[in-house]
């Protein structure tokens, strides 16, 4: 019945926004006090680093790969940010640039040797974590002042995390979905062979997408220490799962280059809100993870239901 009035394709692309809105309403209903500048600011604080990590994951998913190392990588960036970037800024910047290049090199390796990304990134997750432990053996360090200042920015009327999320989403969306080279990047996920036959270098697209993932991983790590003010090698271990879940909630599909940057950011926001919501509902900490799993399943079930309409 529903399909007769609503175009399933439209409904599906609206699903990330819809689930975000529903969750927001549910939170406002259970905790009306959150419906304020400071309430939203508090709840969505960590949405910025998670959204950036989710976008990083999305770039990799676009070219039909999966990045299981983004969490430890964000942790490494946080460690470098809280040590070298604070003490010797120039060296810190060079190290971060090196990290991005390593990410692009990882993409090149995956492409050139035709390797499964899951295994390569799994291996790299050890490497990132190892370097992070060497850089900062125990939690600590200090985040540069400008990062702290940026992340605690007070924007009039609309809380900073929301402004930041909108800016990030729009910039990436325009770059990937509307630019002429963005088409090639997405095409490389949809039908790599066809893109290669039209004379494009798949090595280049792969390196660019992994390089972008590295760049957004760096942004994620820096924004994270802007909030925590200190670093820890394990600070972002969960980000791997968050980023995958966020990208999926945001409507990304695992193969075929079908992704949506706006959706990914919304997915990350939804994920962040879900954590707060569970605390408001006084869900026992034992069941927190379980409840997150349940939310993920619920959203996916909705998507399956809509897709079923689409097939008909």
């Amino acid at each position: 019945m529903l399909q007769r009035f609503v175009n399933p394709r439209l409904l599906r692309s609206a699903l990330p926004a819809l689930s975000f809105a529903i969750l927001l309403v549910a939170i406002f209903y259970t905790q009306p006090r959150t419906m304020s500048y400071f309430g939203l600011n508090l709840m969505l604080q960590y949405a910025v680093p998670i959204a950036l990590a989710t976008l990083a994951q999305m770039f990799v998913i676009t070219v039909n790969d999966l990045d299981l190392s983004i969490g430890p990588f964000v942790g490494l960036v946080a460690c470098i940010g809280a040590t070298f970037l604070y003490e010797t800024p120039l060296l810190g910047i060079l190290m971060l640039l090196g990290c991005i290049l390593l990410y692009a090199a990882m993409g090149a390796l995956i492409h050139l040797r035709n390797l499964p990304s899951i295994v390569v990134t799994l291996g790299m997750s050890f490497v990132w974590l190892g370097i992070a432990v060497l850089v900062l053996p125990t939690p600590g360090g200090k985040a540069p002042e400008y990062l702290k200042a940026l992340m605690s920015l007070q924007v009039p009327l609309v809380p900073f995390p929301i402004v930041a999320a909108i800016v990030i989403a729009v910039v990436v969306h325009v770059a990937l979905m509307y630019s002429s080279y963005g088409v090639v990047l997405r095409g490389a996920g949809g039908n790599p062979r066809a893109v290669a036959r039209a004379g494009w270098s798949l090595l280049k697209t792969k390196m660019i997408m992994f390089g972008l993932a590295g760049f957004f991983g760096v942004l994620s790590g820096l924004s994270l220490i802007g909030l925590t003010t200190s670093g820890d090698a394990h600070i972002a271990d969960r980000y791997t799962l968050y980023s995958i879940a966020g990208a999926i909630l945001g409507g990304a599909e695992f193969v075929g280059g079908r992704v949506s940057p706006v959706g990914a950011v919304l997915g990350a926001l939804t994920l962040t809100l879900a954590g707060s919501f569970l605390i408001f509902l006084r869900v026992s900490p034992d069941w927190q993870i379980g409840a997150q799993g349940a939310i993920l399943i619920l959203v996916l079930a909705l998507r399956a239901l809509i897709s079923r309409g689409e097939v008909r």
């Binding site: 095409g187 039908n191 036959r197 280059g257």
Partner: protein, 490 residues
């Protein structure tokens, strides 16, 4: 070769080997401006390999590539080919399903950048679609993944003819009409004729000899990785073409109509109804019958076969199946073969359940079956343990026939299995099907080639997903099939 002034392409002594298999053994091919060259030959004759070399997607082991008088030799690749106006529409589609029609045009043209590129790309592809396929209903904003296979092929063809900053000199069309219906195929061939008259060159590869004879000015015949004949098209007839390809032409199949009775009899093996059928016409197959499913490509025939196939394992309100069933896929690569397995493993997979002893598969029995069908289907291989991909397309298809015919299935579904199969293989298989039907097997045969319907005892014609006509062989005429397939005459 005739009068044309300028030679666009001159391939000299091109050789290419894949491992031990020699795909091209020193081929020469020259194409002049304003010429339409037909390229015919069996599967595995080397046509597609040669075209990949010309398109720049495959580097030859040796030989010279002279384009517009310049020897480009080793530096030749797709980019260089495009710069010199050489483009190719590949046999398997090369569109990105996640992108729109316009965005796919952008992938093809490196110069479509900057502000407003999307509008320009949309205009470019829409204009070309209008020019080649007037009356098409494709929007530049449509996502390619949502289009039917025929429409995708139309987009791909139109895209190859769009022009931006790079010239358009020669377009290779590799089986361009395989997914097109008769009307759009006709539109395409008409466009090719106009284009060639305007000075552009085309190389047309097709198994539809009628198309080649009708559209091309010159025909080159390939066999076993080499060119065996090249003459003006007017010098060929259908039969002389087939003869040049190296097949013995049988007196153009006259299936013995002797045993034929107008009355259909025997026990009912399949009874199915189309879900959206407006009248009460049902699809029925009796034991030992060969039933044809006709109509334009993609009008519900495959869907009907899959529905019947699924009904064998799962209860279905619309279809009843009385015996074990097997299906022979038309699209070998996506629906048929298991690429990591040997020929033997590919043949036996459907019959393994009856070879299980104490939970284990009886290897001796499996080997015996592979050897038996190696002989029966005359699969061209020294050893059934070789990988299935070592076979040519036609022989891969024979292995799939062996899989179905060697199984316990009493009903065999055929989903246009002769697509892209050489004439020799076809004749062998037709004969085999007649024998099997005589022995009591039932065949449901979807085909896009009207010639093949002559082998069927009863024919159902599909249009827009429903059955619009059905008749016994005695009443079969090409005109009747066409009339039923096209709305206006019905």
């Amino acid at each position: 070769m005739t009068q044309p002034p300028r030679e666009i392409v001159n391939l000299g002594n091109i050789a290419k080997a894949f491992g031990a298999v020699r795909a091209l053994a020193g081929v020469d091919l020259a194409v002049a401006a304003g010429e339409c060259v037909g390229l015919v030959g069996h599967n595995g004759a080397g046509k597609s390999t040669l075209m990949n070399v010309l398109a720049g997607t495959l580097a030859p082991d040796s030989g010279s590539i002279v384009i517009d008088g310049k020897d480009l030799g080793r530096r030749y690749d797709v980019r260089v080919a495009h710069q010199h106006g050489i483009r190719c529409v590949f046999q398997e589609l090369s569109l990105c399903p996640n992108l729109t029609v316009a965005e796919n045009a952008r992938i093809f043209h490196k110069s479509l950048t900057g502000f407003g590129w999307k509008r320009r790309a949309a205009g470019l592809i829409a204009a070309k679609l209008d020019e080649i396929f007037p009356g098409h209903d494709i929007q530049p904003g449509d996502t390619v993944g949502d289009l039917s296979i025929g429409r995708r092929q139309m987009v791909e063809i139109a895209r190859a003819f769009t022009v931006t900053d790079e010239p358009l000199g020669l377009v290779i069309l590799d089986e361009p009409t395989s997914s097109l219906d008769a009307v759009t195929a006709g539109q395409l061939l008409g466009f090719v004729r106009r284009l060639v008259a305007g000075g552009t060159s085309v190389i047309l590869i097709s198994h539809m000899l009628g198309e080649v004879l009708g559209a091309c000015s010159r025909i080159v015949v390939m066999k076993d990785g080499g060119v065996v004949a090249g003459r003006p098209a007017a010098d060929f007839t259908r039969d002389s073409l087939v003869a040049a390809m190296g097949t013995v032409v049988e007196a153009h199949d006259a299936p013995a109509a002797a045993s034929l009775t107008a009355q259909r009899q025997g026990s009912v093996m399949v009874k199915a109804r189309v879900k959206i059928q407006p009248d009460d016409r049902a699809f029925v197959a009796h034991r030992g019958e060969i039933i044809g499913l006709a109509g334009l490509a993609g009008h519900g025939q495959t869907k009907m076969l899959l529905q019947i196939y699924a009904a064998a394992t799962r209860r279905d309100l619309f279809a009843e199946v009385a015996a074990p069933i097997a299906i022979i896929a038309g699209d070998r690569q996506t629906d048929g073969i298991f690429p990591l397995w040997s020929i033997g493993e590919n043949v036996t997979i459907r019959s393994l359940p009856r070879m299980v002893r104490h939970f284990l598969i009886d290897q001796t029995a499996a080997r015996a079956m592979a050897a038996e069908w190696h002989r029966q289907m005359r699969i061209k291989t020294p050893d059934m343990d070789h990988n299935i991909l070592s076979l040519s397309g036609g022989n891969q298809q024979k292995a799939l026939f062996a899989r179905a015919l060697g199984s316990d299935a009493e009903i065999v579904l055929m989903d246009d299995p002769m697509r892209g199969v050489d004439v020799g293989t076809k004749l062998e298989v037709y004969e085999r099907i007649r024998q099997e039907a005589g022995a009591g097997r039932t065949f449901l045969w979807y085909t896009t080639e009207t010639d093949e319907l002559a082998h069927c005892d009863h024919v159902y014609v599909f249009r827009n997903g429903i059955i619009v006509d059905d008749f016994p062989r005695a009443e079969l005429t090409e005109a009747r099939v066409l009339r039923a397939s096209f709305h206006e005459a019905a």
